[in-house]
Subunit: 482 residues, 2 copies
């Protein structure tokens, strides 16, 4: 049996941090004279008290963690914190069910951005801020996990990035704190820059902060039922830039800030990502011009690039009804969501790195089939690709596809339309945000979905956010027997 | 440069055989006084003459083949024979375009069963017989290839079955002829039994033969616009049985006929296949009873099992509009098509064996992530699963999923509705048959698709039938350089 004490301790400490963050919406609602401030104040106090008690009860001396504990911590964090985050959501608005509250909190912490609210303008400013904070802290959490834990846990080929982080768990923890601190500063700086830009381009102060929180986490919660619709124009361009920034590896940005700009400029994953986004924009512009008779214009380019980047980065803002563009753009956007951004960013989905590994592996396999004696050395980013990394990526891809398929079937089982089941499974497992189909309300919410479908999506968001394998390892009986 | 002479010689000989088979529709149309007999007679004569000339020109003494030649032969056969088979189709009915003729012939030889004819009753009996013969010979071809070539070519994990066939190409050829002869006899016997059963259950003589040809090849070409609709009742049950028979490994049936029934009864793939089909039937029956208020009845069970087996075996007959059953059954049927039948049968798609390998590999990977020192030995059907087989299966799965995705995007690019693009890509790559969407005509044909979409489907059927990898190996420049 593994020692769960350090894990519970770490989760409790982070829950206390979350309780502290609840004070922000409490203050906002109090300033605006909204009685919801009491909900946030009480939940904050309760969370901080309870979290502190648990943290003290599980205090320990050994700061190192073994791999099993890392798995449990990662899987535990995204289970406990969304439940904590759901408490004020449940209490803030009368009539909110636990299902919807947990859905909203999980959609926040997993940076998915799908909402269970049929009308967003019924929410207090504090509640909106809380949704933004959930996404922002979820995004920060995943960047740190992707840098510190996933490579050591060897999940989905992330061991390729091990040398960039840490070699062993023992060495990891002290340096992890340093890296996490630097990451947090960078993430905070990008968010402040984003909010300042939004404000400079005409957004109101609160809107600028709220949308910066959900842009830089590629979360995509909006404050309005029309999502990003009210901010057509230059804020869209700014949003596109910041979404792109949030979906490239944070380590590369840190390296650049430390004076080493080369890795950022030479990174084949970043090139692949930007290249794919560009190709998708060009294809959609061409399709609109040639098939739909919509002449290219700067405004159209802005809309197309915004929508391609918002889906591909998994942010999920909406500015127009993309289904009106025709079937090809729709299919391309679904494909974009299944590609995703770069590893080591806030983006979920399969990610460009894994496709690059898969293509290399397939090429080598084809070459080897034909000359069995030949041994191909795979290379990526100028480094050797270990067979273990390739196997791990292939296993991840297989698992992703099969889970996606099972989720579609399970959602259809709840009675959803096939189109809704497909896009809801897609939005959940790839943490994108929007879904399309007859059951989706006008503001794009899942409010009208049956409760089992919402719970399936909660599970899908959780699995997708934690790269599936993290969760499955913890769920195996063997994990608990040792 | 590999020696292409033996390959061209083998293809030419089989083309001569195909020319000889054209005499059957010639006779049928001549007996029925349909002038189309001349088309078949002339094409038969031309094919036999031309094929014989090429065969003589490429005569050679060495009967052994190296692996490269096996790749080229397999890829070449399904390219040349459909083109030969398209000639009488192009000429038999005025106004048939080359696109439609090649589509119909490729859909036949690949045992897909999608049709390009908007109305099937305009076709002569000979032409119907020719469509049936195309599927039947395509099915026979793939059973032989799956037994003789794929294991040696190590395509998609088929090397797992190497010991059941042959170890090296050198030893393979003499024994290949013996096995191919036995396979042909078994296949013929099943077809005759199927035709006799159909006739005994009330089908007309011609219909019984035509549908036996397309049942036992899991091809699914029908003679009527309502597909299998006119044969509701006991012929459906017979068809279900024969489709199941045609989608289990032929090698197991041969072994049983040689007195060794154990392998057939113990085969985990056959169990997995029948079990999955059973679960799908139960789920759909439950859904219809609980959500749609359709009470279970023997007639309903017959319809449901017929439609599950026709899709899962990749036959693709239709008897009812399955989209009327609701969204869950539709999604389940799409999933069934992506599972498919067993290896070593006439079925295309991913196949049960590969899913079993994938699940074993994923389980081992999860166990290993958690205890890195642990080495798991994978087993299937009581035998050790070589890592090479696992990698090969994972590569196949990855390639299948990516090709499927690219095909959906490409089909959407031709202007098709997203639903049509999805189901047409599915039907092409998994060689199933039906597609659904606004562009699909009342008889389920692709007649109204734009020509580029038809060519994309032709490519998809070809790739899917040859397990993708066979084609890609031949397409690599390195293949031709050596
Ligand atoms: K999102
Ligand atoms: K078929």
């Amino acid at each position: 049996m593994i020692d769960t004490r350090p894990v519970v301790h770490a989760i409790a400490k982070l829950a206390v941090g979350m309780g502290a963050l609840m004070l922000a919406p409490a203050v906002v609602d109090w300033v605006h004279g909204d009685p919801t401030w009491q909900v946030f104040a009480v939940t904050a106090a309760a969370t901080i008290t309870l979290g502190t008690m648990v943290a003290i009860a599980t205090r320990h001396h050994d700061a190192t963690m073994i791999v099993e504990q890392a798995f449990l911590l990662t899987a535990g964090l995204w289970l406990v914190l969304p439940l904590v985050g759901a408490v004020p959501i449940r209490a803030a608005l009368p009539g909110t069910s636990w299902t919807d509250a947990v859905f909203e909190a999980m959609s926040g912490m997993s940076t998915t951005g799908a909402t269970a609210y049929p009308r967003l303008d019924a929410l207090s400013l504090g509640l909106h801020l809380w949704r933004g904070i959930l996404q922002w802290s979820g995004g920060l959490g995943i960047v740190v996990v992707a840098m510190v834990f996933l490579p050591v846990m060897r999940v989905g080929g992330m061991q390729f990035f091990r040398s960039e982080g840490f070699d062993t768990m023992g060495k990891a923890m002290p340096r992890a704190n340093a890296i996490a601190a630097e990451m947090t500063q960078l993430y905070l700086a990008i968010t402040v820059a984003c909010a300042a830009t939004y404000a400079a381009l005409g957004m109101g102060g609160f809107d600028a902060v709220m949308h910066a929180l959900t842009t830089c986490s590629t979360g995509g919660f909006g404050r309005y039922d029309a999502s990003f619709g009210p901010f057509t124009g230059s804020p869209q361009v700014a949003s596109t830039v910041f979404m792109l920034l949030a979906s490239i590896p944070f380590m590369r940005m840190l390296q650049a800030l430390h004076g080493d700009v080369g890795p950022l400029l030479r990174d084949s994953q970043i090139r692949g990502y930007l290249g794919t986004a560009l190709v998708l924009c060009v294809l959609i512009m061409l399709y609109l011009a040639l098939w739909q008779g919509v002449p290219p214009s700067p405004g159209l380019l802005r809309e197309v690039s915004f929508n391609v980047v918002t889906i591909m980065s998994g942010t999920g803002y909406a500015s127009v009804d993309v289904t009106m563009w025709g079937h090809l753009p729709f299919v391309l956007l679904i494909a974009a969501g299944l590609i995703g951004g770069c590893t080591g960013s806030t983006v979920c989905s399969i990610k460009v790195f894994r496709y690059q590994v898969l293509f290399q592996a397939l090429r080598a396999q084809l070459a080897q089939l034909q000359s069995p004696s030949r041994v191909s050395l795979l290379r990526l980013q100028g480094r050797r690709l270990d067979p273990e990394v390739v196997n791990s990526v292939m296993a991840f891809f297989t698992l992703f596809v099969i889970t996606f398929g099972v989720l579609i079937v399970a959602l259809a089982l709840t009675g959803l339309h096939a189109r809704t089941a497909l896009t809801a499974a897609w939005t959940a497992i790839a943490n994108v945000g929007p879904a399309w189909g007859p059951e989706v309300t006008a503001n794009g919410s899942v409010a009208a979905f049956p409760a089992p479908a919402k719970w399936l999506m909660i599970g899908g968001m959780y699995l997708g956010r934690l790269e599936l394998i993290t969760v499955l390892v913890v769920l195996m009986p063997r994990f608990w027997r040792q």
